[in-house]
C-alpha cells in the first residue's frame, strides 16, 4: 500500500515559536508551473505587532551577549543549514530554480553565515577608533546595534536574499522582523526552523509571510522599530517606507544588489545597522611623571 505523504504546514516564526497567523488567514502562491507552493500564513498587522514586541524583548539580551558567543551561534546556524541542505535545494527547485542554481544558492547561504560568524567579534575592532582629542581626555568611538530592524526581503530568490541581510543585522547585535518574499516564502519558513534549532535566542529573528502591501506599512510606521532594510527595486515602496520612517526617524537602508554576488557581503552591511557611540573620560596627569622613565 502506498504510503501517504505527510505535508508540511508552513507557519510564521515569532519569539522563537511557530504560531499560525492570528488572523487565521492563508494564501497559496504558486510556482512557475502553476503548482501551489502550499498554504502560507497571510500575516496581519497584529502579527507584525507581536513580532516587534518579541524582537524588542530579545534585543537587550542579544545585544549584550559576548560577541564571541554570537559568533558561535551564527556558526551553529550554518551547521544546521548544512544539515538541511537537501531540503532547501528541494524547496528552491520547487519554487522554480534549477538544481545547479539551487545548490549554488544553498552553498552560498551557508558560506555567508560562516563569513558573518567571523565578523561578530571583529567588526567593532576594525571600525572603532581612539580619537586623539586636544584636551586631557581619553576619547573613543565604538559601535552599538541600532535596535529592532524591520527587513523587507528581496524578491530575486528566497534564501540568499533573506540571509544576506539577516546575517549582518544580527551579527551586529540587532533583533529583526523579516517580511519574507511574498511569492517565494518556502525557504524563509524552513530557515526559521534552522534558526530554532541553532541556539539563536527566540525573538532575535522573527519571520512573517504574507502580502507586502499589507505588512510594510505597519512595520515601517511602528514607533518601536529603529531601522528598515529594504531590498528591492520598487521606488514607490521605498518612498512609502521612507515617509513612514520619519515619525521616529528610522534609519532606512535600501539595497538593490544581486545578493548572489561574492561582493554582496562585507563589513559595511553590518555597520549600516550600527550607531556610533563616542565616550569621553578625563585623564589625570599627576606631576611630571612621564612614560619616558
Amino acid at each position: 500500500m502506498e504510503r501517504l505523504e505527510v505535508l508540511k504546514t508552513y507557519k510564521i516564526y515569532i519569539g522563537g515559536k511557530f504560531p499560525r497567523t492570528e488572523s487565521g488567514r492563508y494564501y497559496s502562491p504558486s510556482n512557475g508551473q502553476g503548482e501551489s507552493l502550499g498554504n502560507i500564513c497571510l500575516s496581519s498587522r497584529k502579527d507584525v505587532r507581536n513580532a516587534v514586541v518579541a524582537a524588542r524583548k530579545a534585543f537587550g539580551d542579544w545585544s549584550e551577549r559576548a560577541a564571541f558567543n554570537r559568533s558561535q551561534i551564527l556558526y551553529r546556524m550554518a551547521e544546521m543549514l548544512e544539515g538541511r541542505r537537501a531540503q532547501f535545494v528541494d524547496e528552491l527547485m520547487f519554487q522554480g530554480a534549477n538544481r545547479a542554481d539551487a545548490e549554488t544558492e544553498v552553498n552560498l547561504a551557508i558560506d555567508r553565515l560562516i563569513y558573518y560568524s567571523g565578523w561578530c567579534d571583529k567588526f567593532v575592532q576594525v571600525l572603532s577608533s581612539v580619537n586623539p582629542v586636544a584636551s586631557s581626555h581619553f576619547n573613543f568611538s565604538t559601535y552599538e546595534p541600532t535596535g529592532v530592524v524591520g527587513i523587507v526581503a528581496g524578491n530575486q530568490t528566497s534564501l540568499i536574499d533573506l540571509i544576506s541581510i539577516v546575517a549582518p543585522v544580527i551579527t551586529g547585535g540587532n533583533a529583526c522582523v523579516v517580511l519574507a518574499d511574498e511569492h517565494l516564502p518556502l525557504c524563509a519558513v524552513t530557515f526559521a526552523e534552522v534558526l530554532n534549532s541553532s541556539d539563536l535566542p527566540g525573538g532575535v529573528v522573527n519571520i512573517l509571510t504574507g502580502k507586502h502591501s499589507e505588512l510594510i506599512a505597519p512595520l515601517s510606521t511602528h514607533m518601536d522599530v529603529n531601522a528598515i532594510a529594504y531590498s528591492g527595486n520598487d521606488a514607490a515602496i521605498l518612498k512609502s517606507i521612507q515617509l513612514n520612517a520619519v515619525d521616529n526617524l528610522k534609519r532606512v537602508r535600501a539595497y538593490h544588489q544581486n545578493w548572489m554576488e561574492e561582493a554582496s557581503q562585507n563589513i559595511y552591511l553590518i555597520s549600516d545597522f550600527q550607531e556610533v557611540k563616542t565616550t569621553w573620560h578625563p585623564i589625570e596627569n599627576i606631576g611630571g611623571a612621564s612614560s619616558t622613565y
Binding site: I283, E284, I286
Partner: protein, 305 residues
Amino acid sequence: MEKKGRLEPTDFRQSPTIDKVGVEERVARFQTRSIKDESKMQGLRLALSMIDLTTLEGKDTPGKVKQMCYKAMHLHDAHQGLPTVAAVCVYPSMVKIAKNEVRGSGVKVASVSTAFPSGQAPLDVKLRDTKFAVDEGADEIDMVISRGKFLMGDYSFVFDEIAAIKEACGTARLKVILETGELVTLDNVRRASDIAMFAGADFIKTSTGKIQPAATMQVTYTMLEAIRDYHLETGRMVGMKPAGGISTSKLALHNLVMVKETLGNDWLNNEWFRFGASSLANDVLMQILKAETGVYQSSDYFSID
C-alpha cells in the same frame, strides 16, 4: 541642614573624591575673569592686607627679622594710604623680636612650629615647640602635619596630633600646613583638609615653602571647597592660606577670584584669607603705582628685604 558644631573624628576615607581634570578646568575658568579698573585696585589693596610676610631661613638673624617687620608696617611710605600686611611669619626663636617690632601696628606675629618644616619629631617636642612660641607672644601658630603618617593611612595619628597642638595654642590661632607637594594627589589634599578642620584648625595652609609644587591654584581650590563643605556642615568658618609660589599680582587676584566664587565675600579679608609670600608685596605695590601713575614700574624703586 543640621548644624552639628565640632565633630568627632569621622571616617576620613569617606572624604569626597576629586577629579583633577575637572579641577583644572574650573581653575582655568577663574583665570578668565577679567579684573579691571576699580575692582583691580580694590583687589590689589586687599591682597596687600592679606600677606603674611615671611622669613624662614636657617640664617635668619634679629637684624633680618627687624628689617622685615619694618617693611610689614611701612610697605611703601612714598605712597600714602597703603594698608599694612596681615602678619609676619618667623621661626619660634624670632617671635619675641618680631613681637617687639610690630607692637601697636595691628600686624600679627605668626610662628611656625612642630619641628617645621619636616614635622619629624615626637609629639612632646612639638608641643614644647608650640608652647614656646605662644609664650614668646605668637598670635598665630603655623604647624605642619605628619605627612609620613598621613601617607601610611594613619589618619587618627594626624588628627590627634593636630587636636593636641590646637589645645597647646590656647588663644593663638592655629594654621595647619598640609604640605600638599608631598601629599601629591588632590584626593589626599581634600582628605588632609578635612582631618585638619575637624581636628580644630582655624586655618588650613598649603605649604611650608620648602617643597615644590606649593600653592598651585588647583590645590588651593580643592582646599577652598573643603572649607566651604565644612562650613555648610558645621557652620564654623575656617581660614585659608596658600603659601609658596604666589609672587605676582595676577596670581594673587586669581586667588581672590577663587575665594570669592567658592566661599563668598565673607572670606575676603585678612581674618579668613592670607597669602604666605615674601616677594608678592613688591609686585602688588608696583601694580598699584602703575595703575595710579600710568607708568610701568622698576623694582629699583621698591625695597627688597
